[in-house]
Structures are given as C-alpha cells and as structure tokens.
Symmetry: D2
Subunit: 115 residues, 4 copies
C-alpha cells in the first residue's frame, strides 16, 4: 500500500487492536461490512435523477462524505487483512481496462462496449 | 485528495474523457456501480467460514484483488464527481470513531458498543 | 408464509437437504448471498437512464428475471431459517407505510416525505 | 405473479399511485432501492458468528423482519414494473439448479460445486 493509505492502514490496525476488534475483522466480515456501507452510500441517491445527483445540498453531501469514509475504511482494512495493496490493484485493473476498452471509438455507448 | 489517489483520480478522468464516458458517470450511477462491485467483492466469501476467509487460495485472492480494485476505482471517481477527498473524509470519520468507541474497554463486544 | 411461497420454501429445504447444504445456509450467509444477488440485479441497470430501464431488450429482461429469482430464493430461505413469514412482514410494513406517508398530499416529493 | 404476491402487487401499485410515486419507481430506481434494503438486511448479521445468526434476540429478529419486508416490497414492485412474475422466475431457476447441482453427491462442498 502506498503513502496516505498506508498510514491509514497502520492507524486502523492500532484502533482495532486497542478495542480487541481484530476478532471481528475476518476478511469475510469486512467484505460484508463494506457492502453494507456501499448500500448506505447509494441510499441518498436512490430517488434522485442523475442531474440532481450532481448537485447535492450541503447536508446531503456531508452525509455522502461520511459513507465514502466508511467504504474506504473497510476497503483498507480488508486489504490489510488479505495482504493486498488496493492502489496497486487499481493500477493493474486500470492497465487492463486501457486495453479492454480502446479509446478513440467516439460516440460508442459504454453499454455496447461492456456487454 | 492526496498523493497516489490524487494521481489515480486524474488518470481516471482522462480515461473516461477519452471514451466519452463522463455522460454515464453521474454520482448516482457511480454509487450504483460501486455497490455492484462491493457485492462482487463479497461473493467469493459468502459460503466460506471466517477462518477460511483468512486463507484464500491464490486464484481466489487474485479475484478478490480485482474486485478491491473496482471498488476503489469507483470510490475515487465518485469522490471526484462530488468534489470530496476520500482520505480526508476517512480521517474525519476515524477521529469521530476514536471518541465514539473509547479504547481500553477490554473484552467489550463490538456488538454491544455499536448498538 | 403463505401459498406459493410456502410451497417454494418447502421445496428449497428439500433441495438444500439433498445436497447437505444446510451447513452453509446460516442466516448470516443467506443474508450475504441475498445482497450479492441484489447487486447482480442492479448491474444491468447501472449505466441505463431511467427511461431505458423501462424498456429492456428481451435478453436483458431474461437476465434480470434470473436475478429476481435468485433474490426471491434467498429471501425465502432466509425467512425459513429465521422462522419469518415474508408476506406477513411485508403486509405489516405496508400498514406502517400507509400511516407514515399519508396519501392525497399531491405533488409532494418522495424525497421530502422520506427525509 | 400468483396469489398473495399478486394481491400485494396490486396494493403496492395503489399505494404508489395515491402518492404520485410512480414517477420515482423506474426499474432502475427500484433495483437500487432493493440493494440498499438488502444491505440493511445484512447489517445486523455483519459482526455475528454464523451460530449467533441462528439465534437472534427478539428485537433484532423484529428488525430483520422489517428489512425482509422492504426487500420483498421492492422485489414485487420491480417485478410489476418489468412485467415479471417473481415466483415463476424462481421456479424456473429452481428447475435449472436441480440439473446444475445434482443431488446425492454427498459431502461435496457447495464451494466446489459452484466454482
């Protein structure tokens, strides 16, 4: 893991250890916690139009920020538990996507490309 | 956003722009994509025991790494779209949790603390 | 549980027992499996506009039907495992919603009512 | 759709129409709402052991019942919006699974069969 996430990973481990929470933090449980938070992150958007989702009122945006935090925290903890570097994983995936979805195919629908 | 994630955010924006995908990348759609990937991240764990989830075979771990990547990519893109810094959000949440769940209360169940 | 779902619950129990799968079917695991399938159910919609989501092409609709099936199957199995009647639970919730969201308040946004 | 779910579908349509909520109830939005509720359904289980998940205290079980209700309500509404019969879809899937996972292969891991 790298830089700011690496520091966060260390701090999160200290935090969990100080509370005897490592017992709960199996990869399975962390993956479950992550999808729960991802659902909470989607919740404020579920009845909005896409246009409305670009212009959240401040208190809604703060709520979304708190859910972004929870997802990132569990993602870092899960990665630590599995010995994965999430940034390296993302970089690897981005390189794959660069090949899988060639640029310059203008006006091609994302749906057509992905299906 | 900071350091490696900031660079990733810029690269992801270039990637989407080169494919005319910004059209699809409303915060609402990105939050939906994120929870879809979070579900895929949980999928390999769903029938495992917690103990088994600590010791994934290599090909399973690689699969999980790919899903960790997808979650992080959408989390960074969603944060960019909303003008949020996910690391700063996580740091803010960690400070709140430090107060909300006092350390040193040994042998206290996470469940009791959180309910 | 009632009628067609009750019959389904019995058939699903027989199916799991014949494969020694009850071992895997703890309520925790079934709830995890359900959210995984719910993510797969959202997946075909994630880049569609709301208008497009009303008019799925036949093969997409068949795919969605398969995911609807998986969600219902896990919901019935989870309910059986917990001794819950999902239809009775839904009816109870519908009665609560009838009071919580009064009708006749025309043109009131769902968002305003729910927040 | 059949019997109790068919009646529920009709009642839910009346409920939404009386509040002008059909506007919000695109299949895309209903699928998003469903996964949000599925996350809430997993939430009470995330830190429990599988054994604990079999023996929920009454107030936890009531909470889970409320989430089961929400998932079923959105599943029925989504099915109505798409013209799908969820019970027929589940029956079709169960017939497929009967062939895909042959019974009588005792002591075979669910994981091996499914991968």
């Amino acid at each position: 893991m790298s830089d700011s996430l690496q520091q966060m990973a260390a701090d999160l481990q200290r935090f969990a250890a100080a509370r005897n929470w490592q017992l709960y933090h199996s990869p399975k449980n962390l993956a479950a916690a992550l999808v729960v938070e991802a659902g909470e992150l989607l919740e404020p958007f579920q009845w909005l139009t896409e246009a409305q989702s670009h212009a959240l009122p401040p208190e809604k945006l703060a709520e979304v920020g708190g859910e972004v935090a929870d997802v990132l925290i569990y993602l870092v903890q899960l990665s630590t538990a599995l010995g994965l570097d999430p940034v390296a994983e993302a970089r690897r995936k981005m390189a794959i996507n660069e090949v899988r979805f060639p640029a310059g195919v203008q006006a091609v629908s994302r749906l057509d490309q992905r299906t």
